[in-house]
């Protein structure tokens, strides 16, 4: 049945949407080697999760999913903070954000 009254939009639409966004995020990190862009792609994946969560909370008529979305945002923020600082440190040492340079550790 439809999620939003008076429209043909069912939960499945949102499932697909978030699935697509999630996969796009994955595509991003696969496709690019630049750390910054890859971070962004991860953020994209997180947001795909957010969307579907909100949609579900609408479906079940419960708030906790939306609260969860808050926490996801919080975590995202924290991650970005740490991640970017790591990135900066890396840049300081290697003068690049190209992840393929990072292969000292292997085999």
């Amino acid at each position: 049945m439809e999620l939003i009254p008076g429209s043909g939009i069912t939960i499945n639409h949102y499932l697909w949407l978030s699935a697509i966004l999630f996969s796009l995020g994955a595509f991003g990190i696969l496709y690019r080697k630049n750390a910054i862009i890859m971070f962004m792609s991860v953020e994209l994946m997180l947001n795909a999760v957010n969307i579907i969560l909100v949609a579900f909370s609408k479906m079940w008529g419960q708030t906790d999913a939306q609260v969860f979305v808050f926490f996801i945002m919080v975590v995202a923020a924290a991650e970005v903070a740490v991640g970017l600082s790591i990135l900066m440190m890396l840049y300081r040492n290697m003068h690049t954000t190209d992840t393929d340079v990072l292969d000292k550790l292997k085999f």
Partner: protein, 169 residues
């Protein structure tokens, strides 16, 4: 109307997401990503999660992306040329991403068990600040507190890493 909005927002979101990934200049990517976020916020509105939408804009567009921009500026990375990546590997990445998408979508295509879930009557006002607040500060107080620990940890970490030390190895 709603239907049109859905399709429009989705289209914009997806396209700008693709743009984010493909654009050479990181600044553009950031901007495209912000567009995506806005479209997502739109979806939140559609789903009566107005407050969340607002927070979303503030946190992501307002904070996170700014942080990104700041870093990009600071490291002045305009025009990243990572085309050195071999075309076959690009092909592989595209292929596997599509594979992932197909698998997930295919898996989620038939979700019959959800079709008989009645959308709750109150589902239009759960997004209100009041309800959220109640939920947040009664049921989810503990996670909320823990989030502070998380932030503290992240902060300490970020500070620790950003302290300048020269490399010598």
């Amino acid at each position: 109307m709603v239907e049109f909005l859905f399709w429009f927002l989705s289209g914009v979101g997806i396209l700008s997401a693709i743009a984010t990934i493909l654009s050479k200049n990181p600044v553009y990517s950031v901007l495209f990503l912000i567009v995506t976020f806005f479209s997502i916020a739109g979806h939140y509105f559609l789903l009566n999660a107005q407050f969340l939408a607002a927070v979303h804009i503030i946190v992501y567009a307002g904070a996170i992306m700014v942080l990104f921009l700041y870093v990009i500026m600071m490291l002045n990375l305009n025009r990243l040329d990572d085309d050195r990546k071999a075309s076959w590997s690009k092909a592989i990445s595209v292929a596997s991403a599509c594979l992932l998408m197909f698998v997930i979508v295919a898996a989620l295509r038939r979700t019959d068990e959800l079709n008989n879930v009645q959308t709750a009557a109150n589902s239009n006002d759960i997004g209100f600040t009041k309800n959220l607040g109640i939920a947040l500060f009664r049921d989810c107080l503990l996670p909320f507190e823990l989030a502070t620990v998380l932030f503290l940890g992240a902060m300490v970490g970020a500070v620790y890493l950003s302290k300048k030390e020269a490399i010598n190895n």
